[in-house]
């Protein structure tokens, strides 16, 4: 069954990749950060683009814009209109923090035009090194499939070990599928 799910997911990713993504309009939205978040746990910023998809009248999956979405985690929240980029803190990963500073999950809830959807994505070490290594997950779809940015992913010999020192990151693109 998992193989079938993987194939379906792969097919969905390929189909999604066949069409140009809708241009992100408007400036990035900066999330409101909880005052209780210790500043020592964050360093700089990270961001994700929120996109929404639905099935059109022909039953074809296509991107839909102008959908209001709420982006919410334990430490920050924002309201955006898809497709839009949201900026939020970059969370340090370190042994000196509880649970190595893991910031928890990020939930994106979208609703508009009689359709709604939500997707929760977990934070993972941003295994993103400038150079030949590019392991960041670029897009997470609400059906669970993932794509990697750039298509070429070369794992370093000790990527797992190096990942222990990288900040926590959410997907660069988060896609929410809307259902009636």
């Amino acid at each position: 069954m998992w193989r079938q799910i993987a194939l379906i997911g792969l097919a969905a990713s390929v189909l999604a990749a066949c069409e140009d993504p809708m241009a992100v309009s408007g400036p990035p939205k900066t999330a409101s950060v909880s005052k209780s978040l210790p500043q020592e746990r964050v360093l700089g910023t990270a961001s994700s683009v929120i996109r929404t998809f639905h099935l059109n009248a022909e039953g074809k999956r296509e991107e839909i814009g102008g959908v209001p979405c709420t982006v919410r985690s334990r430490h920050f929240s924002a309201k955006i209109v898809s497709p839009q980029r949201v900026n939020y803190p970059s969370f340090l990963q370190a042994a000196r923090f509880e649970d190595r500073g893991h910031p928890g999950t990020l939930t994106v809830s979208c609703s508009g035009g009689g359709k709604s959807g939500a997707f929760t994505v977990d934070a993972a070490p941003a295994n993103l090194a400038t150079g030949a290594i590019h392991a960041r997950v670029d897009a997470v779809y609400s059906d669970g499939t993932r794509t990697t940015q750039g298509g070429a992913f070369t794992a370093p010999i000790h990527s797992k070990q190096l990942a222990s020192s990288y900040p926590w990151s959410y997907a660069g693109t988060i896609i929410v599928d809307l259902d009636p």
């Binding site: 360093l43 010999i157 222990s164 900040p167």
Partner: protein
Amino acid sequence: MKKIIPVGLVLVSLAACSEPLIEVTSAPVKARIDSSVPQERIAKGTSELTVRAFTPPEGNDVRGPEVVGATCSLQSDELSATAITPQVVILPKFVQKKEFESRGVPGALAIRCTSEQGDGTALVTASEKNATGVYANSGGGLATLIITTAVTAAVASSTPWSYPPNAHVTVVE
């Protein structure tokens, strides 16, 4: 992937066209090792990390004018230091051993700089070999936040972990 190397060369070439770096005249500062770090994790030898601060670039410049006198704190699970830009920080190397958690890789060094020209941050991660440090800016998302060096499969698994030689922090008002 082959395209990445030429892009890197172009970046290095462009960096070379910017204003020359200010000579470091202050004495190097040695990072403090946290007392909780077992001695067996510390390898022989040290590495030097030159901390510099810059204002944001304008036009096609790679970086803006260098900032002298920015106060930068460096903090990781194992190390801490304070540097006044431009200054060299002497860092220990860490033993790479499969018996250690994550093969003994040290934590990332979080750098926070404050100056009259503004504040900036950068994150420096360890790698298995020294190479030309990659310049990073603050506030541009993860892709430009991390300073590290590329790790290749050719690197021996027993090479000590060390940090890259340069940390360039962009300070923004």
